[in-house]
Amino acid sequence: MATRKKSLLKVIILGDSSVGKTSLMNQYVNKRFSNQYKATIGADFCTKEVVVNDRVVTMQIWDTAGQERFQSLGVAFYRGADCCVLVYDVTAPNSFKNLDSWRDEFLIQASPRDPEHFPFVVLGNKVDLDNRQVSTRRAQQWCQSKNDIPYYETSAKEGINVEMAFQTIAKNALEQEAEAEVINDFPDQIILNSQNNRPGNPDNCQC
């Protein structure tokens, strides 16, 4: 991470099942929404290029792939996150209450170097629905009590506030990344893909 300027930001989306994590990601990246609820089949991670502070960075947004349903996300999912998005459903008070345990779980599993200042963003989703149960005030109070986490009310269905929320996510992730760069260094990391796995150069290969 240190030697090369990292322009890939890992963002993970956490929250109870069916609060709209996958829908938010889809709305932001693909500008589409599906009413049909599929418990996140095929949703893995999406990448999107964004411009933050005049710099082009690639944001990699990781979905939970349904492993959050029984609190079975492994440590690998959390590792190296630059920003954590906590989502609840404004019509489901329990999903709001659980934000505490999702935040705690993240801090334990990801063990960021500076937990006090790690960037979270909270999204209250489904504001397009009529039967709202969690007030804006209550959500804002919670966010303020946790070191002023930025808070947005969104609708993945109508595309409300989604773009703006993810701009903040990208910006805060980039700031976190800038600080981490100084401390964290794993040079020469290797990523496998079919391109660099061509049969080895015979010159190197035969010794």
């Binding site: 089949i41 792939a65 590792r79 035969q206």
Partner: protein
């Protein structure tokens, strides 16, 4: 757990070790419904990687009924008050950190301690499987910095590439030529197994062949210790095969033919499990299995867990995870040693930039027993900067892992004297009789980890069981990237039909059919 889980599955997988996770991913990937359970609160079972606190609590407590780990012990060492050598002094100045039990435990989660450490041949089975299946997107690697051997009481790096051989000071010009010639011969052997020079050695040992090549003792030991990784009885064919495996993996990523997964080998089970989940597999950690029986009428397995009964066409389980398998006799299989040191093993050349990720294969005097030593520095992501993890693994010969490993620890620490902070030992057991595929063909048990560097046996085991479960289906075909998956009435021509799993392909076909019908109406 008040859960709204479905109760019927194609496959229930119990235990999240490497082999089980691999099978779960493969089944889910071809459209089977999968439920994956593990009693632990972490992924990987004995194939996982733990923080140091979790490791200690695992070693300290009595083995749970499902566990295949035994004879655990650990010990914190007082840092010696003796004058530190200049080298250790340097290390401490550099990191500004004094390591004690407290400072180590405070960073517990920065450790990824493999219960079953491996390195991968960079053109080997697992690397190929990860690339083929596109599961490689979940993992990153560190090239192993040095493949080492013992020479005249010191640990030296063996020359791996052509330029290494030219540059090394440990070989004479003549030796360099001989080594080069030998390696070329091994490469040629791969293309033409009926080569006259090599025909004569069929049925003989690899040592016989080496002797006949008139290589010097130094080269012979370099080849047998570190390249072919063989013993005096290894057959000629096996020795050649291993040498080729080594040579074919050179020149791909780093200076050596080996890769180590960033953050430990526990990343692999997690990657397979994520792949399974992405295709709809359901995950429950911290969930025990209380009973398992077969419904003779429907020929389904009934699994009861936390008050719920699940039905499945098949069950795959790690040994001892199912209560029914608890009477199966487990014998000591691998003896493991684990050391935490504040200084690396070997000289500066082997530890450039604050420590290398190095491997060393150890042999006893008569070549009858061997062990694999892996040193991990912070570059592997498996421990904090300034600390080094030493992993030792040998095939078990007793129920006392420390005594099994004593000849190797003596060898290792005889010439180098690292500042050991923490040491621990444990045994990994295996079934006395590996599962032959379940008499009823409904319940299958995976094998415990074998003694190997890479995952050849484990993948073969996973393929074998998968092949028994589902005939004529591809094992882990490529998973498309999210960008390639288009649903909900997008342009179907953008899809590559063959890269889709069955359920998505069916959706696509429906859509195409609907479009055609619309055309006709027009």
């Amino acid at each position: 757990m008040a859960d709204d889980l479905p109760e019927q599955f194609d496959l229930i997988v119990i235990g999240t070790g490497f082999t089980e996770s691999c099978i779960a991913a493969a089944a889910s990937r071809v459209g089977k419904s999968v439920l994956h359970l593990d009693i632990n609160d972490y992924y990987g079972n004995v194939w996982g990687s733990l923080g140091i606190e979790d490791l200690i609590s695992l070693l300290a407590r009595e083995a749970a009924p499902h566990s295949t780990l035994r004879n655990g012990s650990y010990h914190w060492h007082e840092q010696s008050a003796a004058t530190p050598t200049s080298e250790t002094e340097e290390m401490k100045v550099e990191t500004g950190q004094v390591w004690t039990q407290e400072t180590v435990l405070a960073m517990s989660r920065r450790f990824c301690i493999d219960l079953c450490p491996r390195v991968l041949y960079s053109a080997g089975e697992l690397v190929q499987l990860l690339i083929k299946s596109n599961i490689c997107r979940y993992t990153e690697f560190r090239a192993v910095d040095n493949v080492c051997m013992h020479q005249n009481g010191t640990i030296v790096s063996i020359p791996c590439s052509r330029s290494d051989i030219f540059n090394t000071k440990s070989l004479t010009i003549v030796e360099k030529r001989l080594l080069m010639k030998f390696m070329n011969a091994c490469n040629d052997y791969g293309e033409d197994k009926c080569n006259e020079d090599t025909l004569a050695f069929r049925g003989k040992t690899f040592f016989d062949y080496l002797k006949a090549q008139r290589v010097t003792e130094k080269i012979a030991s370099c080849v047998t210790q570190a390249i072919a990784m063989c013993g005096p009885d290894t057959s000629f064919e096996e020795g050649m095969l291993r040498t080729q495996r080594f040579l074919h993996s050179l020149g791909r990523y780093g200076n050596t033919p080996f890769l180590y997964p960033m953050y430990g080998c526990g990343e692999f089970p997690q990657s397979f499990c994520r792949q399974c989940a992405v295709y709809g597999g359901i995950y429950c950690l911290k969930r025990s299995v209380d009973d398992c029986s077969v419904d003779v009428n429907s020929n389904e397995v009934l699994i009861s867990s936390a008050g719920t009964t699940f039905r499945a066409k098949h069950v795959v389980s790690a040994p001892r995870y199912l209560p029914a398998s608890r009477d199966c006799v487990m014998r000591p299989h691998l003896s493991r040693g684990l050391f935490l040191s504040s200084t690396p093993l070997g000289n500066d050349v082997l530890n450039k930039g604050g420590g290398g990720v190095n491997i060393l294969r150890l042999m006893d005097n008569v070549g009858a027993r061997e062990a694999i030593f892996i040193q991990l520095s912070h570059y592997s992501g498996a421990c904090p900067k300034g600390l080094y993890l030493f992993h030792l693994t040998t095939p078990a010969i007793s129920d006392d892992p420390a005594s099994d490993l004593r000849i190797f620890t003596l060898q290792l620490f005889q010439y180098a004297d690292p500042e050991i902070i923490f040491s621990s030992y444990f045994t990994l057991t295996a079934q006395s009789q590996p599962d032959k595929g379940g008499a009823d063909n409904i319940v299958y048990y995976t094998d415990a980890p074998s003694y190997e560097m890479d995952y050849y046996d484990a993948i073969a085991n996973a393929r074998h069981i998968f092949g028994k479960l589902y005939t004529d289906v591809e094992f882990l075909p490529r998973a498309p990237d999210v960008e390639e998956i288009v649903v909900d009435g997008e342009d179907p021509s953008a899809l590559n039909e063959h890269s889709l799993p069955e359920d998505l392909r069916a959706q696509l076909q429906d859509m195409q059919q609907a479009t055609e019908e619309m055309d006709i109406q027009d």
